[in-house]
Symmetry: C2
Subunit: 371 residues, 2 copies
């Protein structure tokens, strides 16, 4: 089976690019002297997980992060035991965590809420729990220097095994130097929190940080035990704009077909729209706004210039062509769309059609979805 | 099983509201004297399809519209034969259409492309084909008065059975009167095109128009044989802002749990984010911008005032509360999020948890996804 024969729209994963991205991140974690905990929220695939766990820094940890209980159940069914459910848990979800752990998994959870901490401690077999720290993203987490940190540890009791944070504000930085600073603040927050917990008698085993940009740009991570990252595996247009990788390192694209021609408008329609691409507009805040995605050739090369999907409907995308690049494409022509934010684009697809640089499909890898 | 026990995030469908919306649209089509062809791209569910096909105007037609070949195969597997694949076909997709039709289905297709028209005519058993007309939306289709219309009919030969259009620009109107005008233009374009084809010797059997706003607001549809509409079944915040229905007629919402409290910021976090809600921002252009969705009570009532999801990450949504409405919600509290655009929100979910006004789940209806 070849790319040109696939039903469109669909996801294409270039295994060679994936391997290169995995090696880059694993080298970065090794350089920092910390374990790498690959976050599988982006890939949602056991085949990707095995490759991501193969590097030295990932083997040193041996575990993954997940974003849903559906992912946790799926990866456990494929033999991965050590998982961090990296979103704040709710009391009613503890039963599903307990069921996985009773079966042999080792799912740890995260909280920043006192009532939830009490609910965790009240479980017959409380899961290992990390306190979420706000290191500057201001999404979730408690302040490393506040009273709430110690109150959470008190309520959790022996379930508390450490701290975690996600420096999501790294995405708002626009220079590598700024990423390095965010990484330092990310590290500083959790290490400070860990020290306070240790002083309060907590046996702190895990000090976990993470985001693809900070994991790549951190200068040093003393006191940190692991870094988590996810989008680095695939990359996307936005990550290429914030120095996580180069434009040739985007491993996953959407294969689409031309379904309509609008030559008078230097435009065309493709069969990848709001669902197949997602409505993510990450690059709107970057140096180059790629609309809903950059149009590339079937072979992945970028010869269409500035051609990008500028408008989407449920199953239609409108590509505006680059006036400087002739592109008279008949209906049925296959193109590949590099996504703004692959975590969101991949969500609508149930499998990857895997290539290895060429046009031959060498594997089909399923994805888990839902909750 | 009750709403309060469901794993979150998930889709909740209120069957009573759905029935009311179906009746409203079927009455509108009956008033116009045309058949209703329900578009199942929104619902993607056979259970919804049966209900949508139960009204007199829908029974008069007996068919549905679909947006993907995956939908066509799914609905055919459940016994629905008459389907219009309402997006422009590509030559390579004709084999899948032919396979369905050879098995007994009656899938018709759409084109506005001369090469594709030739490819259709060259099939061993060409599917019934409608020529897509641009009635003002300027997304796809040929002009009703242009030469291309007749050239397409010539190439299609006996495969050509009529014309269709989608007045997508109805979504940009902000008064019922403007919707009525768009509906008149939509009708005018296809009726004119149909007359030209008839004069050229084509046996025009189908003159198909459609969009929820024009189907509801059209003054009359002489010459039109069927109206297609989809989002009317469920409604959403955007449709309620453009007069398709009232705010209490939203049949599908996302059930979510509070996962974090940010009382100092009058905000909270829920476990429905960019994937569970989609990143659709339709209401940004409306009179009230609901961000990524309006927060409602577990029972569906709107007592949280202006509380809305203002920011999303993959699995987190940040709700900004209404300062005028006290809402001190513990972690684990269930809320319902009314969506901006349900076609996109529903896409990430594989089933509906069905209620009938109350808190009891009376059915679970699967959805088809993918392509």
């Amino acid at each position: 089976m070849r790319l040109a024969d696939l039903p469109t729209p669909c996801l294409v994963l270039d295994r060679g690019v994936l391997r290169r991205n995995l090696e880059t991140m694993d080298r970065s974690a090794s350089r920092l002297g910390v374990a790498l905990r690959p976050h599988l929220k982006t890939a949602k695939s056991i085949d990707v997980a095995w490759l991501a766990l193969a590097g030295p820094a990932a083997r040193r940890g041996g575990g993954i992060a997940v974003s849903t209980l559906a992912e946790a159940a799926y990866f456990w069914s494929h033999g991965i035991a050590d998982m961090l459910l990296a979103n704040a848990i709710t009391p009613d979800k503890l039963a599903r965590v307990a069921a996985l752990n009773a079966a042999g998994a080792s799912v740890s959870v995260v909280t920043d809420d006192t009532d939830t901490a009490s609910a965790i401690a009240a479980q017959p077999a409380p899961p290992r729990t990390l306190i979420e720290i706000d290191s500057g993203a201001h999404r979730a987490g408690v302040l490393p220097d506040g009273d709430l940190l110690l109150e959470l540890a008190r309520r959790l009791g022996p379930a508390c095994v450490g701290v975690m944070t996600h420096a999501g504000h790294s995405y708002a930085q626009r220079t590598p130097e700024a990423m390095t600073q965010v990484a330092a603040a990310e590290r500083g927050a959790v290490v400070r929190a860990a020290a306070r917990l240790t002083a309060a008698g907590v046996d702190v085993q895990v000090v976990s940080v993470g985001s693809t940009p900070t994991a790549l740009h951190a200068a040093a991570e003393p006191g940190v035990t692991e870094v988590r990252a996810g989008v680095y595996m695939f990359g996307d247009l936005f990550q290429s704009e914030i120095f996580s990788h180069g434009p040739d390192d985007i491993a996953v694209t959407v294969l689409a077909s031309v379904i309509g021609r609008r030559p008078a408008e230097q435009a065309l329609l493709i069969d990848a729209g709001a669902i197949a691409l997602s409505m993510d507009r990450s690059t709107a805040s970057g140096p180059v706004d790629w609309g809903y995605g950059q149009m590339r050739h079937l072979d992945g090369s970028t010869g269409y210039g500035a051609a990008a999907v500028r408008r989407v409907w449920q199953e239609h995308g409108r590509v505006e062509l680059d006036p400087a690049v002739a592109a008279d494409l008949p209906v049925g022509t296959r193109v590949r769309i590099a996504p703004n934010h692959i975590c969101h684009t991949a969500a609508a697809h149930d499998r990857y059609f895997v290539v290895d640089g060429g046009a031959e499909v060498v594997a089909i890898w399923p994805r888990v979805s839902g909750w």
